[in-house]
Subunit: 115 residues, 2 copies
DNA sequence: GCGATACTTAACCCTGTGCTTAACCAATCC
DNA sequence: GGATTGGTTAAGCACAGGGTTAAGTATCGC
């Protein structure tokens, strides 16, 4: 079992590559086989496999093999983890900014009082 | 000037490390000096510097030096880019899921018609 | 000025990532 | 059943990432 932080590592790392984001974008329009994913890409099939493994390790994508073709699909919940982390950080930051605004206003007020 | 994809690369890559996420979390509560960022971390100061450089390269953090201390702060807009990309993907996926639901319903309907 | 403080740079090490080619296995197709 | 298609594994290579120590530079406080 992976802890939260390790899962975020894998998710963000998976997202940090344009090839993998491209594969993800393709998959967000529907399932695809490995060769379908590879077709638009300028790299070899084994390279695509490795990217796919990174995506699966991160939980962003799942796949299953039937006959000789492997079908890949997006796992939507996984993106939620990353999105949640980001929006939490933004919330924290926003809360601090609010306090800072108050602080600035107080400073301005003092400026008026003294000038 | 960096294009969108390169900026996403840097942003997600910066987020893909627990040390950097920790620094970011610290900074979301307010500006800090380099040594303040380093204090809770089990690594050397140069290592912290390098993480800081990664964060600055991604645009997530900015810093300025005054006297001998460098003060680092979050750049809130930068997180928006990453968040936007994720939510766009989710929107695409959701749209496809809707179409899939329709499809399933149509299939069910046909099942009823034939059975 | 002198020592302590706060970074910064440089040089290096080890591991991980992204890619390749070559060879291999397993389902289809004719 | 032999060729083709779809995927997989293995081996190897180049380079980037994350860490170290050691040595430098620029304030600050006395």
């Amino acid at each position: 079992m992976l802890n939260q932080s390790a899962r975020l590592d894998l998710a963000f790392q998976a997202l940090a590559d344009p090839t993998r984001r491209g594969m993800l974008a393709r998959l967000s329009q529907g399932p695809a086989s490995v060769s379908e994913l590879a077709r638009p890409l300028p790299i070899s099939l084994p390279a695509v496999l490795q990217h796919l493994q990174a995506l699966e390790a991160s939980g962003l994508v799942s796949s299953e093999k039937k006959g000789r073709i492997r079908t890949c699909r997006i796992v939507p919940e996984a993106l939620g983890l990353a999105e949640t982390w980001i929006s939490e950080q933004r919330a924290l930051w926003a809360a601090r900014l609010d306090r800072f605004d108050e602080h600035v206003m107080r400073l301005k007020q003092e400026g008026k009082d003294n000038g």
